[in-house]
Symmetry: C2
C-alpha cells in the first residue's frame, strides 16, 4: 500500500494514511503543488505555523528508468511568497519510492526551542531530538557524517543547514548524494521553512524495502532501453554534459552574447576561458586525485553532468559544480579564479544556501558597494558570514531582492523577488518569458527556452527576436511541469525533444509501471493542470499579471554586444499563460 | 498665475506652465496622487528614472487659516511599491503657496554622479551643484546651516539626508521648520526617490511674493475665526496636545491595553511613566534652558503639539518628539530612558530616516537577535550606522520588512511592507482596518480610528469589538484624504469632529478663498475620489485585496491584557472599500 505520511510538529503527531484519492496518480511537482494549493492558506506567512512542507518522489522514481531519481519539495516560499516546487538529486527520492511513500508532509511548529530529526524506516516514523553537535553553525558535510554515523551510512538524509536554522530566505534543503556529498533542493528558501519548523533533518532508511512494483515489467524494460538510447545518442545529453558538465554553457552563452556579466551590464566577457567547462575538464583531468570529470547526482543517472572538482593537491573540493553558480560568481561578479569559485560553491553547500540566489546577490552587492568587484577572497569571507550570521551575512542570505533594497538599487535582477539566473533575457528572449511568467519567480528550469534559442534543441528560434517565443515558452513550461512530476531529471529533455521515439518511451514507461494508457495529450494536460494549480495559489496569495514582469531596466538598458532590450509588451507576456 | 513647475534632471530642463486644467482646484494629496496616477507607470522601479516626485501645498496653505501649512509629497514608494503621499510641516508649503506654485515636479535622473540643489525664487528655477560639504554623510542639521548660510536664513529647505543619498527605503525628506530645526515627510522612503534623482535639496525663497489671493476676504476671516475657536475649545486640540504633545498617548494607550510592546507581544507595559507625555512635560519644565513644552511645526499652528526637548543642561536635543517614535523605542523596543530616545530621535532626523519605520524595525531586530532588548546605547550606535551605512545600518535602514526577512521572522509587523505604528490592531480594532486597507501601507494617519475607539472623539466605538468599525474606518479614510488635500494638519479633526460649526468653517474657508460653494458632500466626494485614484494606481502596480491584510500572527496570537485577536474576516475587511 502506498503511504501518505503526515508529521505534525506542533503536537508530534504522526499519521500514516493511504494516499488520498485526489492525489492518486500524481507524483513529484504535480503532487506537491496540488497539495500546497489545497491545504496551505495562500496569504499565510511562509515561516509561520500554517505553512506546510511536502516531499514527494516522482512517478518513475525508484524504478530502473534512467535519470528518474529526482525528488520534489513543495511549500509556500519565504523568498517569493509564491507556491514553490524545487527538486533535487540524491538518494532520497528513490528510497521514498521503494518504501511506497508517495509523500511526506511536515506541518506545525514545535512549542519548545529544540530542533528535531524525523526518521522514516520500515517500522514507520520516529521523531528524535537533533544531536547538539550538528546544530548552531555545523556545516552540512559534517552533519551528514554525524547522522550517517548515528543512523548508518546507507541512509538518505535531508538537512536544513545553518542558513535553514536561521530561516534565511535563501536557505535550501541539502540532500546526501550516493557518495555522501551534497545535492540541493535549491531555490525559494524551503530550507527556511524546514528551519521554521525546527526540523534539522530527515533520515530515511529503506532497509527491507522491495522494488517498486511494475505492472508490465517487459514493456517497462523495453521502453527504458529506447529511452536510454535516446539520451545517450544525443550530443548534449550523451556527450556534452558528461564531458564538460553544465559549465559547458559558459563558452556557448558568451559566444551568443547572452552571458550576463557585471550585474547584467554586459552579455560577454573576456575571461571566459578562466571559468569555462572546457577549462574545468582540463583542470580536473590534470589534477587527478579525487577529481572526476563526470558523475551522476543520483543512482541510475546516465547523463552524468556532475563532477568532482579537486584542489591542486587532488583533494575533493566540491561536486555538482554548476554553470549557474560559476556564471554568477565568475561572470556576473567578475571573479576570475575557478578554484576560488569552487571553494565558494563548497561553502554554500555546507551552509545550505541556494548558490544561484546568493551568487547573484553577491554581484548585485558589488554594484551596491557592499563588496569589491571580482574579489574572490572578500566574497568567500562574506559567504562564510552567512553561517554566523553577521549583518553582512544576513544581507546576502536575504537574497538578491534584499540586497537591492538595502543598497537602493533599481538594477536588481529579480522576478517575484527571486534572482534571474545565467541567461540574459535581452539576448535570449525566450528564457525571459519563462522568468517573467513562471509561478516560481525567475527560474530557468521552469521552461528552459535556452534550448531552442541557443542550443537549437527542440526548436530553432532567433534568440534576439520575439518571433515564436511566446508559444515556445508556453510549451516549454507545460512540458517541464509534466517532466517535474515524473521524477525525471530536466536534462532528459535534450534526449527526447527531437526524438519522437524517446518521448514515446517516457510515456510508455509510465504506462507500463502503472498499467495505464496515457497519451502525449494526457502529458500536456498534466503539465497544464500543474501550472493552473500553481497560478491559482499565487493569485489567491495576491499575485497578478503585473508581477509577471522583468525588472524595468531590461526595457531601457541595451545589452552589449547585441545592444538589444527586453521589448515584449505586457499584453504579449500575458499571452504565455493563455491556455 | 498659478504655476506648475517641472524640473527634468536627465536634461536639466525646466518648464514653468500654468496648472493643467485637470489639476485645477486640487491641492495637497488630491493633486499629488492624481498626478502620480496619471504620469507614473505603476510597474516602474521606484528608484529608476521613470518615477516622479511631486511637491504640492494644500488648498488653504499660505493663507491665515489656522494649521494650514502642511505640504504633500507624492511618488511611487520604494518601501511599499504603492502610491505614496506623505505630508509635513515646516515653512515650505506656505512659501510655495505664496509664490503661486501649485506643484513642483521632479523627473528624470542626471547622467553624471553629482548631486544637485533646485532653487525656486521669484526669478524662476535654477539648478545648482550641491556644496561638497553637505554630501557624503553630513547630517541634516549641519546641511540646513550650510544652505541657510549660502541662500539666506529666510529660505525654506527640503533635504535628502545621508539615508536619502544612499537611497535607503526608509529615507524621509527633511524640511527646515520656522526655527531651522527639522520636520519630516516621513513615511514610505520618498527621500530615497529624491536621492535616486541625485537631488540633495530644494531651496525656496519667497522674497517678494505677495499674499495668497482670497476671493472673499471677509467671509474668510469670519470662517477662520470660527474654525480657530473650534480647535481651541476642544480638550484634545486645545489643551492636551499643547501640554503633553502627541506623547500624551502613552498613558492613554497603555491604560487601554493597546500599546504594542516588545514587538507586539504585550499591550501594556510597567514603565509607562518613564516615557509618558506627562513625564516629558515635567522634564522639559524642570530642565528649562532651550526647553519648550509647546511649539508649532509651522507658522499659523494654534494646536502646538510639538516641543523642544532639552538635555540635562537645558540644551536643545530634538523637537517634534512624537508619540509614535517614543512608543516604538520606549515600549516596543523596551528602552526605558527618555533622554536616550531623544538622542535617537535627533539622530534619525539628522540622518533623514522615518523614525516610525526605523524604530519599529529596531524592535523587530531585537526579536531577531540583531540587537539586545531595551539597550539604548546599542540602538543609538546602530542608528548612527545608518548614515555610513554599515551592513547593520543598511538592514535597519531597509525597514521593518527587511529586518523580518533577514532575521527569518514571521512576527513582522508590516502591511504592504510598511511598519505598523503605535496602536495594536487587536485591541484598537478600528485602526487595524485602516492599516490593512489604506493605499499607503500601514499608516495610522490615513484614517485615525484611534479617535472614536479610544479618545471618544468623533465616535464612541468599543475598541475590542468589531461593531461599527468598518463604516467608521471607511469614513475616517475618506475624510482624511480630503483633509490631506487642504494643507490642514490632521489634528484639526479633533476640533471639527464633534463641532458642525467647526467643520462648516473649514469648508467656508475653502469657498471664501476660491469663490466656490462646496458642500460637505463635495468634500466627501473629494476624499472618495482621492482614495479611488490611489487604489487604481496600486491595482495597476499589482496590489489586490490579498494585500489588504494584517500579518497573520495577529490572527492567532492573543494580545494581553485583553487577550484579543484580530478577527475580521477577509470579506469584512474588503467592505471598507465598498464605495
Amino acid at each position: 500500500m502506498n503511504q501518505f505520511i503526515r508529521v505534525n510538529l506542533t503536537n508530534m503527531a504522526i499519521e500514516i494514511q493511504p494516499v488520498p484519492e485526489k492525489y492518486q496518480g500524481l507524483g513529484g511537482r504535480a503532487l506537491t503543488s496540488s497539495f500546497i494549493n489545497d491545504e496551505v492558506k495562500p496569504t499565510c506567512h511562509p515561516l509561520g505555523k500554517n505553512n506546510k512542507l511536502i516531499f514527494a518522489p516522482g512517478l518513475l522514481s525508484g524504478t530502473s528508468a534512467p535519470n528518474s531519481g529526482r525528488l520534489s519539495v513543495g511549500a509556500k516560499s519565504p523568498l517569493t511568497g509564491t507556491i514553490k516546487e524545487c527538486n533535487t538529486g540524491g538518494v532520497f527520492s528513490q528510497k521514498m519510492a521503494k518504501m511506497g511513500i508517495k509523500a511526506l508532509v511536515v506541518e506545525g511548529v514545535p512549542s519548545d526551542d529544540k530542533f528535531y530529526i524525523i526518521k522514516l524506516d520500515q517500522n514507520g516514523v520516529t521523531i528524535d531530538e537533533a544531536p547538539e553537535e550538528i546544530l548552531g553553525g555545523c556545516g552540512n558535510y559534517k552533519a551528514i557524517e554525524v547522522l550517517s554515523g548515528k543512523y548508518g551510512s546507507h541512509v538518505g538524509i535531508a538537512l536544513a543547514g545553518p542558513a535553514g536554522e536561521h530561516r534565511l530566505p535563501t536557505a535550501n534543503i541539502s540532500f546526501k548524494d550516493p557518495e555522501g556529498n551534497i545535492r540541493s533542493a535549491g531555490r525559494g528558501g524551503l530550507g527556511a521553512v524546514m528551519g521554521s519548523k525546527k526540523l534539522k533533518g530527515i533520515v530515511i532508511d529503506d532497509t527491507g524495502a522491495g522494488a517498486v512494483p511494475i505492472a508490465e515489467p517487459e514493456k517497462f524494460r523495453a521502453a527504458a532501453k529506447v529511452f536510454a538510447n535516446a539520451l545517450l545518442s544525443h550530443p548534449v545529453s550523451g556527450q556534452g554534459l558528461a564531458a564538460y558538465g553544465t559549465d559547458v554553457l559558459v563558452n556557448i552563452l558568451n559566444e551568443a552574447g547572452g552571458l550576463p556579466s557585471y550585474n547584467f551590464t554586459q552579455g560577454r566577457i573576456e575571461h571566459n576561458d578562466n571559468i569555462s567547462g572546457e577549462t574545468m575538464n582540463a583542470t580536473i583531468t590534470e589534477r587527478g586525485g579525487d577529481g572526476k570529470v563526470s558523475h551522476g547526482c543520483h543512482r541510475g543517472c546516465i547523463i552524468k553532468c556532475s563532477q568532482w572538482y579537486p584542489d591542486k593537491q587532488g583533494k575533493y573540493i566540491t561536486s555538482g559544480f554548476e554553470y549557474e553558480t560559476i556564471w554568477a560568481l565568475g561572470a556576473d561578479a567578475g571573479i576570475k579564479d575557478m578554484d576560488q569559485i569552487a571553494y565558494m560553491d563548497r561553502a554554500m553547500d555546507d551552509i545550505g544556501i541556494d548558490s544561484i540566489e546568493v551568487s547573484v546577490a553577491v554581484a548585485t552587492a558589488m554594484e551596491g558597494g557592499l563588496l569589491p568587484w571580482g574579489d574572490g577572497e572578500a566574497v568567500l569571507d562574506a559567504i562564510q558570514q552567512i553561517a554566523v550570521p553577521t549583518p553582512l551575512g544576513r544581507i546576502l542570505g536575504g537574497g538578491c531582492a534584499v540586497v537591492g533594497k538595502v543598497c537602493g538599487l533599481y538594477r536588481t535582477p529579480v522576478v517575484k523577488d527571486q534572482a534571474i539566473p545565467a541567461y540574459d533575457p535581452r539576448s535570449v528572449k525566450g528564457i525571459g518569458l519563462t522568468y517573467a511568467t513562471t509561478p516560481m519567480g525567475a527560474d530557468h528550469t521552469a521552461g528552459y527556452c535556452v534550448s531552442g534559442n541557443i542550443l537549437k534543441v527542440g526548436g530553432d528560434l532567433d534568440p534576439l527576436k520575439k518571433d515564436g517565443q511566446i508559444e515556445y515558452a508556453r510549451s516549454m513550461q507545460i512540458g517541464t511541469a509534466a517532466v517535474d512530476s515524473t521524477g525525471m531529471c530536466l536534462f532528459v529533455y535534450f534526449g527526447i525533444a527531437d526524438s519522437p521515439e524517446g518521448y514515446q518511451a517516457l510515456i510508455d514507461m509510465i504506462n507500463a509501471q502503472y498499467g495505464l494508457s496515457l497519451t502525449s495529450g494526457d502529458v500536456d494536460k498534466l503539465g497544464e493542470t500543474v501550472l493552473k494549480v500553481e497560478r491559482d495559489f499565487n493569485k489567491r496569495a495576491g499575485f497578478t499579471n503585473a508581477h509577471d514582469r522583468l525588472p524595468e531596466f531590461f526595457e531601457y538598458e541595451a545589452l552589449p554586444p547585441h545592444n538589444t532590450v527586453w521589448d515584449f509588451t505586457p499584453e504579449e507576456i500575458d499571452e504565455v499563460y493563455n491556455f
